[in-house]
Amino acid sequence: MASPPVLLELSGITKRFGGVRALDDVDFAIEPGEVVALVGENGAGKSTLIKVITGIYPPDGGTIRYRGEPVEIRSRRDSQQLGIEVLYQELSLVGVMNAYQNVFLGKELTKRYLGFIELLDNERMRIEAERILLEQLGMDFKGRWEPIFLMSGGQQQAIALARAIYAEASLVILDEPMASLGVEEVERTIAIIQRLRGAGVAVIVISHNLEHVFAVADRLVVVRRGRKVGDVPKDQITPEEAIALMVGRLQEKLVTREGPVPASSREEAHRGDGRPESR
């Protein structure tokens, strides 16, 4: 491939809140078209890590590389410019607006009248939004002009994803995407995530539900007390192991593409001055 294989690479990320180390020397990397599940108990550091990636909490230490280039992500604007889109649990949609208005919010299409009056091109936005939703997400929104708060959670999620797709996101972060969905809609969301992967978009999924995680992810990253304790391809870990890592019954399991990293060597790397090499 022409583009460098790693899309986003975080090395030695540390974030403190007062005396609390929310993130302690965390490495994280994701490739285009890869789906990584970020799991861990409440307060383990999942959301802090996401907020570092999105620029909401600039890190206290460590480096971030995007497509191989060192970058600083200090605000949401910075991360948006890199093509990082986040879908929060409480979706960042305007409930009183309809589907296309939400898809194009902040990036409206316009049309000129008499050469100087620039008005919104509602018709083109509607057609374009319906096309994205149908072709990329397999959802039919034709003739749906009601405010989206009247729609189901799955439909709202599709609209939020269409936003990300229209923004040409390179990395989509889904915060508990399946928390409030019915069985059928969970399946649809999983299918949508697989479509995104097929389109070369990197996806980070935060979830408590290991069943969903195993259904959708290529790789699992486990955090516990601000440390990364697990980083394993899905086929080399069992749900039981993942839980053991989350709660601390299992100390650490890190597997790179070359093979497992022995826990002892990592400990030495930590004790030394130099930061551990990222994968």
């Binding site: 919010l105 009601e146 708060f149 189901s152």
Partner: protein, 340 residues
Amino acid sequence: MATDVPRAADRRLRRRPFDRVVGQRPVSYWLTLLGPWIGILVFGVFMVFMRDDWLTVVNMRNILIQASVFMVLAVGMTFVITGGGIDLSVGAMTGATALTLAWLVKFTAIPEVLAIFAAFGVGVLLGTINGLLVTRLKMPDFIATLATWITFGGVVLVVIEGHTLFRFSDTVRFLGRYRLFDQIPMAVIVAALVAVVGYVLMTRSRFGRYTIAIGGNRKAAVEAGIPVERYKMFHYMFMGLLAGVAGVIMLGRLNAVHGLVGEGYEIHTIAAVIIGGTALYGGVPRIWGSIGGALLLGMMANALTYLGIHYFVQYVFSGIIIVLIVLVYSLLGYRQRPEG
């Protein structure tokens, strides 16, 4: 395929018949959309039966002229309220701009046309002060405009010192008095123009779309990269400009200003917007509804005069009617936006 998915909202909405979804909207949506127009119709029929001299061209024109000031103000207020704010200082701003115009033509040699634009400018300036308090000093909209309501009103009283300025030229009174073809009042034309511009802005411009987004879900607006503070600023400046227009119309109509001109306009304006179906908590605008609301209130004020009810009693009636209308809306389950 998407339509057979059970809607999350259905579970919450099933409780009341008015919440049934018809034509992709709850029934309450349609009722509040038509509300002011039904009110106008019912009230009109009532008045025709009460007084056979009510439905005349002259009286209809009087109602329109009387309502036009509030139509102009209500369009501006629709933007402020839809954007999640409120402006209590509109009455004081209207008075202050009328006074500015009166003072400039009486005490300076400034050309009268220029003085009219100066009044608009003062409106924008006062609106900017509101906007700065809300966006820079982070004051709640309600508190900031309550403070400026008192302040602007106080400044007017100080400047005018209890006098009344009266008798102005036809140029100064153009917007309030002139009649196109001797028939169509300029004030009504201006109100119609403001309504059309307001409607186009609300439905077809970024300004309107972002106003709805900010009032609908401020967090989502920020997340979408919308400069929320800047748009809040625009809302108050726009409101100020329209208060200037209303002030000039009012001066032209009354041919006089005194220290208390514009008093009570804020409540009247907000009432017109709420009767028109705009959601008080933001996100759902109804420009034409605000026009209808202003018209309905104008009809009521006119009717109370017609029925020989004393001016002060009219205040009581207006208050009761407003409370009743708002009550009807809340009984209808007036909900067009999700909680929070």
